[in-house]
Amino acid sequence: MMPASAIAFYVISGFLLVTALLSVTGKQIFRSAIWLLFSLLGVAAIYFWLDLNLLAAIQIVVYVGGIVVLIIFSVFLTRGAGEELPIIRSKRRFFSLLAVLLGFLFSAWCLWSYGFTSLAIDTPMADIKTIGRQMLSIGPGGYALPFEMVSILLLAAMVACIAIAMKLPGSDQTPQKK
């Protein structure tokens, strides 16, 4: 008889892997974006199961609320949502499946032969107050400098997005249909 938390873990990981597989093999691009959304929700459920509530909340807000919506927007902006993706050659599919299976088996064998032991499972977690203080601390072990650098990175990304997607007035915008 398995305890409830173990059953919850296997259910969550099965859901996560099946939706991820549907997302990378789906025929319609909009549907695979929706499967990606469910897969990212499964990752958030894994975080909740690991008691990392802050990380799970950030995962839902940033990935599910931000990135997937951005991807769906770009699907609508570039092509028809119900359009079928082209069929890939079976030779390429076979060899990529082979590479992926060999890589997975090799890394699983490496993990299994290392034999991880969980040391400190019963000690209490660092709470959110500690995390928040450490994020803005400039003392030893503080993350104030990466925090500020990430804010500069986000500003640069915002400016770069506008600069890339802007239609320049003098540039040649004639379509080059191949």
Binding site: V24, V62, T78, I88, R93, A120, A157, P175, Q176
Partner: protein, 104 residues
């Protein structure tokens, strides 16, 4: 969660990574390549969170590394979508095989 060994969480994360890699190999549409990339980044985050929770629950390094990866992934997705929109405007396609201007 004492009943699940750390190995099972790591195996799930490795499986998610290789599913993303399969999508990366087989897809030819830039948006779906980006989606596979997000799956791979998420598997790395699961790894870091699991190590933090199982081995060093008093520390916060795993949470912070995952947090910065999520932030950088958001910036990367925004840039990628700007590039995709520009590519679509130039070539009328988001297929990676069609963008051959810098290939040869």
């Amino acid at each position: 969660m004492q009943h699940i060994p750390l190995l099972h969480v790591l195996i799930v994360s490795a499986a998610l990574f290789f599913i993303g890699m399969y999508g990366m190999f087989t897809r030819r549409n830039l948006i779906t390549v980006l989606m596979s990339l997000e799956l791979m980044l998420n598997s790395v985050n699961i790894n870091l969170a699991a190590f933090q929770r199982y081995l060093y629950p008093q520390q916060t390094e795993g949470i912070f590394l995952s947090l910065f990866i999520i932030i950088i992934a958001a910036a990367e997705a925004a840039i990628a979508i700007a590039i995709i929109i520009h590519l679509y405007r130039t070539y009328h396609s988001v297929d990676v095989e069609d963008a051959t201007e810098m290939k040869y």
